[in-house]
Subunit: 117 residues, 4 copies
C-alpha cells in the first residue's frame, strides 16, 4: 500500500459531499444511521457461512467486502470531520486506553471482557 494520509481521505470525502451540496442532509443522527447500516452490509456477507465457506467466498467476493468496509470508513471520516473530532489522535489514545484495560499479561489468549479479567 502506498503511504496515505487520513487527512487527505477526509478532504476527498468532504469535497465529494460539498460538490453535491449534501451537507444539509448530514445531521449527526442520520449519519450515525448510515454508519450502522453500512456496518450491517459488511456483516451480511458473512451470514450463514462456515469458516470454510467464508474462505471460499473471499476468493471471489473480496472486492465487494472491501467496498462495504470503505463505505463504513466514509461515515467514520465524515462524522469525525463534521463533529470536529481528530480521529487519528483519538484512535491512538483509545488504543493506549485499551492496552491498559487489557494488559498483555492478563489478556493474552483470552477473549474475556476487561471487567472480568
Amino acid at each position: 500500500m502506498a503511504k496515505s494520509d487520513i487527512q487527505e481521505l477526509i478532504e476527498a470525502v468532504v469535497q465529494f459531499r460539498d460538490e453535491r451540496d449534501w451537507k444539509q442532509f448530514h445531521n449527526p443522527k442520520d449519519c450515525a444511521m448510515s454508519l450502522a447500516l453500512e456496518a450491517a452490509e459488511v456483516l451480511e456477507h458473512f451470514q450463514w457461512k462456515s469458516p470454510e465457506e467464508i474462505d471460499e467466498y473471499m476468493k471471489t467476493e473480496k472486492g465487494e467486502i472491501a467496498e462495504e468496509l470503505a463505505d463504513v470508513m466514509y461515515w467514520v471520516l465524515l462524522m469525525s470531520h463534521d463533529l470536529d473530532i481528530d480521529i487519528n489522535d483519538t484512535f491512538m489514545e483509545k488504543l493506549q486506553k485499551n492496552a491498559e484495560k487489557y494488559p498483555v499479561e492478563k489478556a493474552k489468549g483470552k477473549h474475556t471482557k476487561y471487567t472480568k479479567l
Copy 2:
C-alpha cells in the same frame, strides 16, 4: 491534525492484537459482528435527541463519541488487514464510483438514491 498514515494505524492495531495473541479469535464473522456492534454504540448516542439536544450533547460528550468512532475504525482497519484489503485504494476507488453514480449536475441538493435519479 498532524499528518498521519493509515498504514501506521494498521500496524499499531495489529501489534496491539498480536501482543495479546487474539488473532485466534478474529475470524471474519466475529470481526464483522464487532464492527456492527461498535457502529450501534455510535448510533445509541444520538437516539431520542432533537437536533438541539444533539448540539448540547456534543459539548459534553464529544470525547465519548470520538472513542466510539475510533472503535469502528479499529475493526475496519483490522478486517482490512486480515482480509488483505488495501482500504486506502478501495476508499478512493469507491469515492470515484460514487462520483459517477451521483453526478454533480443530477445529485446536487437531493437525497435521492442513485437508482431513482
Copy 3:
C-alpha cells in the same frame, strides 16, 4: 385485528423452517445476525427523512415496512423457539421490570435513562 396467538405464529414459523430442512443452518449466532440485519432493514426506511417526509412515505410504503417488521418478528419467534424461551411470559415480566425501573411519577414525560432518573 383478529385475535391471534403467538404460539400459533411460532408453530407456523417452525413448520416453514422444518419443511425446508433449514434447522441445520439455524445456530443462534447466525440467527442473531439475521435479527440484527432485518432490524437494519427497518431502520433503512427512515434514513434521511424528516418527520414530514416519513408521514408522506408511510402513505405509499407502509406495506414494505410492515413486511420488514414481520421479518424481525420471524427471528424473535424462531430464536425463542430454538432457545426454549417463553417469549410471551418473558415479555410480560420485562414490562413489569421496566415499570419498576421507570415509575410513572418519576419517568412521566421524560426520555431520561433510568440510571439518571
Copy 4:
C-alpha cells in the same frame, strides 16, 4: 406456554407507554433506531463464542437473552401499533410469500438466497 394474544401484548405495551406520556418521543425514526439497538444487544451475547461456548452460555444466561428478545419484540409491537400495521396478518402473509420464494423442492437443505435458487 399459555395461550397468549398479540393484541393483548400490544395493549400492555401501549398502556405502559401512555402512562409515562412517552408517545411524544416515539417518532418512527427513533423507534426504528431502538429496534436496531435492541437487536444489536441480542447479537452481542453470541459474539466471540464457539457453538460449544454458546451452549454453555445458554445454561446460565438464557434469562438475559430472553429479555433482549422481549425488548426487540417491544419495538416491533409498538411500531406496528403506531404505524397502524396489523403485524399478525402481515406476518402470516409474509410467511406465505416466503413459501413461494423458497419452494420446498428447490430450497430444501440449502441456504441459497432465492434470487440464486
